[in-house]
């Protein structure tokens, strides 16, 4: 136990509030390297906010994020991010291939052409998510599941050891969910660290290694079997079904 490996993602004392209302309160979390981890919790628990604040996409009131032990600012190339798809304008004039190429821009530079080796890498990423035949399509012509595959291909193209996925199974058919889950397992087995915001406890129990149970504060964290005990789940989800006042009282302590 003395030689613990550097966690893939470590969050220290993160607090985020929207107009004086804490959304995340003093969150300490550490996700192991080389594991498939889940962030679970009821609606409004701050799951997506945790990822966004950790990446510095929204302002936080304090806290620190380390990717593989380095501050996120200097480790942008070590982490790939699959954002939620609800804010995307699907009529945007862009092809599937161009979206995946976006994953290479940061590495190749924002000015240079996408060279042949880069193009081959993009092809490989499309192949891996089963979208080879769709490279020239407009992103808007795809189904929800196919769009999610494209976003995952873009994250693959970033070739980062840590991948953060925000609700990747939302609005996705069962077949796509199964194949994305299979892909995540493969990536984990190749040594990648996957951290997934997800709301379905059953999937997390059966398919994930590690879980962070969140409701504004951290309720439990650890290997899935230890973190998602019935008592912990009740503590995380129970507060949400009571009145707002009680929920506030519970985090105000």
């Amino acid at each position: 136990m003395t030689d613990t490996p550097t966690p893939a993602l470590e969050i220290r004392r993160l607090t985020v509030s929207y107009s004086a209302h804490p959304v995340l309160w003093d969150v300490d979390a550490s996700f192991p390297s080389g594991a498939l981890s889940a962030i679970v919790g009821p609606n409004g628990a701050g799951k997506s906010t945790l990822l966004k604040a950790a990446l510095g996409l929204i302002a936080s009131d304090g806290g620190q994020t380390l990717i593989e032990g380095r501050p996120v600012r200097t480790a942008r190339d070590r982490v790939a991010y699959v954002p939620q798809r609800d804010a995307i304008d699907w009529d945007f004039p862009i092809t599937v291939r161009e979206v995946v190429e976006m994953g290479r821009y940061a590495a190749t530079g924002w000015l240079r052409r996408v060279g042949r080796s880069q193009a081959a890498l993009v092809d490989a990423c499309l192949e891996r998510v089963g979208m080879t035949g769709y490279a020239a399509r407009q992103i808007g012509e795809l189904s929800g599941g196919q769009r999610q595959r494209v976003f995952i291909a873009r994250a693959l193209a970033q070739q980062a050891p840590v991948m953060l996925l925000d609700e990747p199974f939302a609005g996705v058919d069962a077949r796509t969910e199964a194949s994305i889950l299979k892909l995540l397992h493969e990536l984990r087995d190749e040594g990648g660290s996957m951290i997934v915001v997800h709301h379905d406890l059953a999937t997390v129990r059966s398919a994930f290694d590690w879980a962070l149970l969140l409701n504004v504060r951290v309720v439990a964290a650890g290997p899935v079997g230890e973190a998602l005990t019935p008592a912990n789940v009740r503590r995380a989800y129970g507060a949400a079904v009571h009145s707002e006042d009680e929920a506030q009282a519970s985090w105000a302590g």
């Binding site: 942008r76 004039p93 769709y134 407009q138």
Partner: protein
């Protein structure tokens, strides 16, 4: 700049106007795409209205009447307006559309008050400022056009150099932030580009209608191009064509340039929204009508095929009753089938011809295959993201999987 003007086969003053209109059209078209895709078209409207008091103040302060000085004032006022909009939004209580409305109305009112004041003074120079309301291309100097050219070059270079960063930010700001792009700064840069385009166009199109030159070419270009790298140059080209033809028309008809340019631009939009392949209203309506007609004909084919097994061939009237289809739709379907040679007749009674029967069987097979997909699809284990198209499963899944579906279906029939 002189040699460019010499290149244009028109007399000198027309050539200056054409060149200016071209610069305006290219820049406003290209930059407008960025605003339209961010759903910020009305920011362009607010900024061009906000530029008006800048023109007036520049005149009052310097006493100069040349376009370059006045447009410098316009640029400053536009930037102030942009900052105000961001500021009002940031307070968190006022939504962007309300912030746009407030800035547009207040700056424009100030501009009108100042215009009226200037008109009431005895300054002999004051005539002509109202050009900035509706636009007037005539009277532009070669020097002004040279300044416009430099501004256009700056704006287009910025778009070209920042293209990937802009594309990423426009499409997916969350991803852009995660890979380390300065999203806020890029958004401000896009607003600054809008201000540049407005400054180029203000004298020619006027504060009130300038927004059309930002929006119309972008909308028209999007109808025809599916990649940002094509939409932007196409919008620039459409903008240039619109600007040049509008400016020439206006100078011939001796009306303000702005409204004429805008009418031409709107004409372009209407045509492109109607006829563009795949996205055009007419194109889609035609496809929908064709699909409906085909589905109807297929339905009647299947009705006739199943009726054969039930009893003697039906007449058209009996078929209408049995299939519960409106008589008109049925007549139309029968006419289509007749034309395709799929029907034989025995007096009133209808038969399927040999090709008709084959077509009916094909339709039935497609339906069967779809039912089989719904039941056995998961067992197929299609490895990639292929998705079945209910109208043609075989083409969308490929022969291999269609055949395997058939096999699964037969196996299921044998062992109920």
């Amino acid at each position: 700049m002189g040699w460019l003007i010499d290149l244009i086969p028109l007399d000198y003053s027309d050539a200056v106007v054409v060149l200016a209109a071209m610069l305006l059209g290219i820049t406003a078209g290209a930059v407008g795409v960025l605003a339209v895709l961010r759903q910020r078209s009305l920011v362009g409207d607010a900024l061009s209205h906000a530029a008006l008091p800048g023109v007036c103040i520049a005149f009052l302060v310097t006493g100069a009447k040349d376009a370059t000085t006045l447009l410098a004032g316009a640029a400053l006022a536009g930037l102030v307006g942009a900052l105000l909009m961001v500021g009002i939004e940031r307070t968190g209580r006022i939504r962007p559309d309300a912030a746009i409305g407030v800035v547009l109305a207040s700056f424009f009112s100030l501009g009108i008050v100042l215009l009226t004041y200037i008109a009431s003074t005895d300054n002999s120079n004051q005539a002509g400022l109202e050009k900035y309301l509706f636009g007037q291309a005539a009277g532009l100097l070669e020097r002004d056009v040279a300044v416009m050219g430099v501004l256009a070059l700056v704006a287009l270079t910025l778009v070209a150099v920042g293209f990937r960063a802009l594309k990423t930010t426009l499409f997916d700001p969350a991803f852009a932030g995660a890979v380390g792009l300065p999203v806020r700064a890029l958004e401000i840069a896009m607003t600054a580009l809008l201000v540049i385009a407005i400054v180029i166009g203000l004298r020619m199109v006027g504060a009130i209608l300038m927004v059309a030159m930002l929006v119309a070419p972008a909308v028209a270009a999007r109808q025809f191009a599916g990649r940002l790298a094509l939409v932007i140059p196409l919008a620039g080209a459409i903008g240039a064509a619109v600007g040049v033809s509008g400016a020439l028309l206006a100078s011939r008809a001796e009306v303000p340039t702005g409204p004429v340019i805008v009418l031409v631009a709107v004409g372009c939009v209407v045509v492109s929204v109607l006829v563009a392949p795949r996205r055009g209203v007419l194109w889609r309506a035609r496809r929908l009508a064709r699909d409906r007609r085909r589905i109807l004909a297929e339905g009647v084919l299947v009705d006739l095929e199943t009726a054969i097994h039930a009893g003697p061939p039906l007449t058209a009237a009996e078929l209408a009753l049995a299939s519960a289809r409106p008589a008109r739709a049925l007549r139309r379907a029968l006419r289509d089938l007749d034309r395709a040679g799929m029907l034989d007749r025995d007096g009133e009674r209808l038969y399927l011809s040999r090709p008709g029967a084959a077509a009916a069987h094909a339709v039935l097979e497609r339906r069967e295959l779809w039912a089989a997909w719904l039941e056995h699809g998961p067992a197929l284990g299609v490895p990639d993201a292929r998705e079945p198209d209910p109208t043609d499963l075989r083409a969308s899944l490929g022969d291999e999987y269609a055949d395997r579906l058939h096999a699964l279906m037969r196996a299921a029939e044998r062992s109920p």
